[in-house]
Symmetry: C2
Subunit: 336 residues, 2 copies
DNA sequence: CTCTTGAATGTTAACGTTAACATTTCTCAT
DNA sequence: ATGAGAAATGTTAACGTTAACATTCAAGAG
């Protein structure tokens, strides 16, 4: 058992103990087959005895790359909607045997340039910036030449590749889904007005309705909670013509459903309700809620690819990843 | 604008362009005040022109440390219960201006030794291992001498510092809370039997009841979902004497509440219900659920401390971090 | 004008690793 | 035995940075 050796043993210490050159130790450490089994044994024994740990610093200095991708974030790692994308990047990295360096920024330093500045001195070959919906320097930010940069953002950026969930597409899909079931009076119930995602969903909904020549009723907005959904749902219950409701997230959808039921309407027989994020599975008894599930895994995978293997020239990519509808409860239009 | 320079500029390139020595560039890069303003200007200009990015590899090779902590995980980063601890580590790291290297392991490689082996070649000064509830090599694992190791685990380990949420303490607190309100017939509704957390909570509940000489009724177990909670709640509704229910998580608690109400009981007037994790805030209309909230931030902070600043000798720490009860709905015992 | 002093800048060496090349050792056909 | 060729191992140099020390320079005192 190692004893008192303060700093870790280097390849030279191992070499000396095993009676070989450092290069041979290096070969063993990297699994080269050009080492005699007997020698290999001795080296491995020496490594074990000294508790040898290869120096990442020296290796990557030599190699000129880190085999690691950086992810800069502000706010909660695991807030709904965010978590799957973070997980997606981590999974993509794991699959490529890359490490991932996570840099969490305090909210008051959550700008692209600050994130990039900090990331520059970390061991990463590429960076993925995933800040709040709208960092203050979004337009003016220029990525460092030495570090391939990807922004997770619904907005297009003039210098950086961008990827994100397709918020507009989400709305269009949902409207599609409902119209295919015969619904023509489809209302939108929004979350916070200052949320980019919420605004995009509303925009997509409105646009999809107009394309089809359907009736657009000015939507209500709340604050993403079920209680706010309930309140807005109670108002919508007065709307005699409405047969389908698109809620901007699942909590709102749940609130709306409860309000409709409390107003004597049947869900889904009278009114179909669908949410977004598919975040409430298993959490409410006897409630199967249809929802739109984003594909965070794919967003993460694409962000990883673009950051570690940036396209040479040409267009700057702006990729919107579609999700899918998880159908559990909406029904064909019925008369009310 | 930089143009075509394939690999990043080094300190030597900057020095040459600015007409100074590399040491002066180094001084500027590290904010030393022993550089004349005019010189500093020239160096900064050269850095900007070349898109200079300091080499993490060279710096840490020189320094002998990485200023970074590793977190190895298996499974979902953001599963309930896990997310706050991950976030806690990330936050602690950010506060100390450390980076965090996240290593995600596929489920079939989720052993402590594999995690440690992979982490050994990453740029970290210490590692935090946070695998599933019970990795196969928990008992036999020996941490590498060169890498301070902390395991996030409720179990005690003979060679590694361990930290975790105090599951037993959670149960004891909840029983305390309910007995203080006068409840004496307190039932437990469990999640999955193969979950370490669930088993600990049950054990703590049983122990706390016995200490007080209270009646212990053999608990039901389900699968963590609200539907399973509903089913078990429906059975408990038959239990005429029960006045308080401790559900092993919030979804179960919700299921139980609905079942009790459907059986004609009032919650909380007839029966108080409390859950664990405080995970359902804002997602169910008009439902304020009392819950036990773990202190993941503190678990993360302690894990970070132990990993980056390991105690010299003496006892191997095993720290259980208590959470707090978030009281929203339980009431004093009433007759039924 | 010289000397002293301190500020500014430069030089050297070392951190641990591995690609590229050089050397030694082994194996086997003659 | 001998030499050719292959296999195993060794040597050198370079990756980019900065601490420690060395040198140069500027400014003020005498």
């Amino acid at each position: 058992m190692a004893f008192g050796s303060s700093s870790s043993a280097s390849i030279a210490d191992v070499a000396k103990l095993a009676g070989v050159s450092t290069q041979t130790v290096s070969r063993v450490a990297n699994g080269s087959d050009a080492v005699r089994p007997a020698t290999k044994e001795r080296v491995l024994a020496a490594m074990a005895e000294l508790g040898y740990r290869p120096s990442f610093a020296a290796r990557s200095l030599r190699a000129g790359s880190y085999h690691s991708v950086g992810l800069a974030m502000s706010g909660d790692i695991a807030a709904t909607g965010r978590r799957y994308q973070v997980e997606g990047v981590a999974t993509a990295a794991a699959q490529h045997r890359y490490a991932m360096t996570l840099l969490q920024l305090p909210d008051d330093e959550a700008t692209l340039s600050e994130a990039s500045r900090r990331m520059s001195s970390l061991p990463v070959d590429g960076q993925i910036l995933y800040l709040g919906s709208d960092p203050s320097d979004f337009a003016s930010f220029e990525p460092p030449a030495a570090l391939p940069t990807v922004i997770i953002s619904t907005r297009h950026h003039s210098h950086c590749a961008t990827v994100s969930n397709d918020q507009m597409g989400c709305a269009v899909s949902i409207v599609n889904h409902l119209t295919q079931k015969g619904h023509r009076e489809i209302r939108f119930v929004g979350g916070r007005r200052d949320s980019y995602a919420n605004v995009s969903r509303q925009k997509g909904w409105e646009q999809a309705l107009r394309t089809r020549g359907l009736h657009v009723v000015e939507p209500f907005h709340g604050d993403w909670t079920a209680d706010s959904g309930y309140e807005l749902g109670a108002r919508l219950a007065q709307d005699e013509t409405c047969t389908a409701i698109f809620a901007s997230n699942d909590a709102i959808a749940v609130g709306v459903i409860y309000a409709l039921r409390d107003a004597g309407l049947r869900v889904p027989e009278d009114v179909s309700v669908i949410g977004v994020d598919d975040s409430l599975v298993g959490v409410i008894p006897h409630l199967d809620l249809s929802s739109y599930r984003f594909n965070g895994t794919r967003v993460g995978a694409i962000a990883f690819d673009l950051a570690t293997n940036p396209p040479e020239g040409g267009e700057i990519p702006h990729i919107l990843v579609p999700g899918t509808i998880v159908e559990r409860s909406t029904v064909a239009q019925a008369s009310r």
